[in-house]
């Protein structure tokens, strides 16, 4: 894939994540330097996967520890959330908002695609099913929460044009 396009996607995901955390969760996050990794396993306890189809094909993954997930969803609702089902649902919706916002930003670069509803996976090290699988790596963007906890935002895409 064109390096410029790829960097635009990474940047639009970072902008979207910062905005969603700030507006909906009332938390500042800091994105660290993205890195590449091989492997298709989830990095944390609760993982949302959204498939992209269109000018680009692939997936965006948001993965966080159970403890952070509970904190984040509780902060979003302004209520202590104990029900694991709600925590997972909330992370799915955060994932949805991040990818949706990034999609809107990418449409300004004439890169258009549709997004799926989030598929949720619980358990660390679970294998993630991607829409297109070859041996390319994932790009992982670590997002640091105020308490130092790390959320992993990952990207697995290829150009389909």
């Amino acid at each position: 894939m064109n390096e410029k396009l790829y960097q635009n996607i990474v940047q639009s995901l970072i902008h979207a994540a910062e905005d969603v955390f700030k507006t909906m969760i009332f938390m500042e996050i800091k994105a660290q330097e993205p890195f590449e990794r091989k492997g298709l396993e989830s990095l944390s306890d609760i993982t949302g996967v959204i498939s992209l189809t269109g000018d680009i094909m692939g997936s965006v993954i948001l993965s966080m520890e159970g403890f952070s997930s509970q904190k984040v969803v509780s902060s979003m609702l302004g209520d202590q959330i104990e029900n694991p089902h709600e925590v997972v649902d909330g992370i799915g919706e955060i994932c949805n908002m991040v990818v949706g916002m990034a999609k809107t930003e990418m449409s300004n670069y004439s890169c258009d695609f549709e997004i799926s509803v989030p598929v949720m996976i619980t358990g660390k090290g679970a294998r993630i099913q991607h829409i297109s699988e070859d041996n390319q790596g994932l790009t992982t963007i670590p997002l640091v929460l105020e308490d130092g906890a790390i959320v992993h935002l990952e990207l697995y895409i290829k150009d389909s044009r």
């Binding site: 969603v20 979003m76 609702l77 916002m101 449409s107």
Partner: protein, 124 residues
């Protein structure tokens, strides 16, 4: 009297958040919830529901298909609809308006932004 609002979203947390946001903005709400278009059509009573706030991306029947069904039904087509979605591009916005959506709010949203749209649509 409380405003009878149907909130349609596949995320339970998002439905809660919409309700909470409207209440925080001072609107008295009597909610009815549905998790997709099919459930919403089943539950939609045109005699009582005064406003629909619907998500776009949902399984089974998405928000746009749901809006088309409501607008195509003589008994239901008068109900105002606000689309609340992550879809923020101009093309999607126009597609929604062309199909009968009254107004459009993108997620992420603030309670204030949502309230302004609700006031506008209700007082139209």
């Amino acid at each position: 009297m409380a405003l009878k609002v149907m909130i349609v979203d596949d995320s339970l947390v998002m439905r809660k958040l919409v309700l909470k946001s409207l209440r925080a903005a001072g609107i008295d709400i009597d909610p009815i919830e549905a998790s997709d278009g099919i459930e919403a059509l089943k539950k939609l009573d045109p005699k009582t529901v005064q406003l629909i706030i619907s998500d776009w991306n949902m399984p089974r029947m998405d928000g746009l298909s749901f809006v088309k069904k409501v607008r195509g039904d003589k008994k239901k087509k008068h109900i105002p609809i606000i689309m609340l979605t992550t879809e923020g591009s101009m093309a999607k916005f126009e597609e929604a308006l062309d199909n009968g959506v009254d107004d459009y709010v993108t997620k992420p949203f603030t309670p204030d932004k949502l309230k302004k749209k609700v006031d506008k649509v209700i007082n139209k």
